[in-house]
Amino acid sequence: MAGTGRAPAGKLTGPKLRVNWIACDGRGLCAELLPELVGRDEWGYPIIADAPVPPHLSEYAQRAVTICPKLALRLVPPG
């Protein structure tokens, strides 16, 4: 998985987090693990900025993907 390298600040091209909205049931583990990138709407579903994961958070992003009990979160390559 890309994103573990050091990208120059301000020009991020790493992978993005993507939610499978059918699988997601808003348990919120991703938001607890990664509050820097994942907020929650008033119903508990994740709000994720459509932006690459910064390198210093990529490890946490990967853990959020792994920990999701519904397997509803993925890291997708840029582009």
């Binding site: 939610v19 499978n20 909205w21 059918i22 699988a23 997601c24 049931d25 808003g26 709407d41 008033e42 119903w43 508990g44 579903y45 709000i47």
Partner: protein, 435 residues
């Protein structure tokens, strides 16, 4: 080779000229319809490079998205493995009627297009997706039988029934249904052209697109481009309703003016306040703008609307645009597949708030709430139902902003509450199992 095939590869049929209608020129339903059809349009051509012809014609999909048809054909053709073609007649849009009309009056033109598309992508299976209980079904079944007896189609066409729901024709829902399941949208990727019906690369084309392919294969790209605009060639079926004397489906060239289109539907019967384009995932335009802008996406898109599948509803000045929008928003909330949290939770709240806004003295924060919930559902679903619904609702807040001001002051400019935009009768239960 059967006599019904045109066996001359380079032979051209005499084009019927540039006059309208093209698609609806020769109604050929019922017993013996195949002979009527072949007499009127000429035999089904064979051995032509349909993808190249469609590319040169510049045909775009007539189901709503307007994607270049040749690119879709080429993508599935390149996928190689036993591909599938589905003709999409799952017209769930209450204000639309053109797919039903085509299937009902010129079934063989649609089936010609299906056959040509299947040939072009070397499909091993072809399906036609039509709403259960559709009045077009008996004629279609007879037409399929008649063609089989005549040795016309190389592949058997299987008709699959769509449930009468707004989202039944959504591409991934269609694929689930044709695969034997419920007509529910699924998460993408994979896209249906990668993995569709039973995991195979699948071409889904609206039935009007297929009928246009049948004409292009016969008469060629130059004939097709004789009508329409350079950027958007050809004709299109428009489902025209609202404040017109004779609501009906009209075939017109893309780029036609709204006054001409309304004239073809019997003419305006009231002063207009706004026009809805593209159906319930489309948007409103103020009447003054709409009357001055040609019906072409190049002209409409900068105004935030598009032709979609050709739905045009003229809203009379005596109706309340907010009440109309609220009623449709409720319908759209009910028609959510309820699979994705933001859509399941957000659309009912938007519909509730619009119902408040449609009445006198709404809470002055109502519009801000609608905007907040709209931003929470847009882009956050497996399919485009939340996005389309938000597009429709936001256009109403723009176009009927003055009306909302009046409502806040306890007034309404409407003098009637007679419904203009159709929604299915509440007494008709939508199938819960989506089959």
């Amino acid at each position: 080779m059967n006599a019904l095939y045109d066996t001359t590869v380079n032979g051209t049929l005499t084009p019927p000229g540039a006059e309208l209608p093209r698609l609806l020129r020769a109604p050929a339903a019922g017993p013996g319809g195949l002979d009527v059809h072949v007499d009127a349009y000429g035999p089904l051509p064979s051995g032509r490079d349909v993808i190249a012809l469609v590319d040169a014609a510049g045909l775009t999909g007539r189901g709503g998205a307007g994607f270049p048809t040749a690119r879709k054909l080429a993508t599935v053709a390149a996928a190689g493995r036993r591909t599938v073609v589905v003709g999409n007649g799952g017209e769930g849009e209450p204000a639309a009627g053109k797919d039903l009309l085509l299937l009902h009056t010129v079934p063989h033109l649609v089936l010609d297009g299906l056959s040509l598309a299947a040939e072009a992508v070397r499909a091993s299976d072809t399906y036609l997706y039509v709403e259960r209980g559709s009045p077009a079904l008996p004629g279609l079944e007879a037409a399929v039988r008649e063609r089989r007896r005549a040795g016309m189609d190389r592949r058997r066409v299987e008709i699959v029934h769509a449930p009468p729901r707004f989202l039944a024709g959504e591409e991934s829902a269609l694929v689930n249904r044709v695969s034997g399941g419920a007509a529910l949208p699924r998460a993408t990727p994979p896209r249906v052209f990668e993995r569709g019906v039973r995991g195979r690369p699948t071409l889904v084309q609206n039935v009007e697109t297929l009928a246009q392919i049948a004409l292009i294969a016969r008469y060629g790209p130059a004939w097709f481009r004789a009508l329409g605009t350079a950027a958007e060639p050809g004709t299109m079926l428009f489902s025209v309703s609202g404040a017109v004397a004779a609501p009906r489906v009209i075939e017109a060239e893309i780029g036609v003016s709204l006054p001409a289109l309304l004239g073809a539907a019997g003419g305006q019967i009231a002063r207009l306040q706004a026009v809805l384009y593209g159906g319930y995932h489309g948007g409103w335009l103020p009447a003054a703008d709409a009357l001055a802008i040609p019906l072409a996406n190049t002209a409409l898109r900068p105004r935030g609307v598009s032709l979609g599948a050709g739905v045009v509803v003229a809203l009379p000045a005596d109706a309340c645009g907010l009440a109309e929008t609220a009623r449709v928003a409720r319908y759209l909330a009910d028609e959510s597949a309820k699979q994705c949290g933001p859509c399941l939770n957000g659309l009912p709240r938007i519909a509730d708030a619009l119902a408040v806004l449609a009445r006198p003295h709404p809470d002055r924060r109502t519009r801000a709430w609608i905007e907040r919930w709209s931003s929470l559902v847009a882009g956050r679903g497996a399919c485009h139902h939340p996005d389309g619904t938000v597009r429709f609702v936001r256009s109403a807040l723009r176009v009927f902003a003055h009306e909302a001001d009046l409502h806040e002051g306890g007034r309404c400019s409407a003098t009637t509450r007679r419904a203009v935009l159709p929604v299915p009768a509440p007494g008709v239960p939508a199938p819960r199992d989506w089959r």
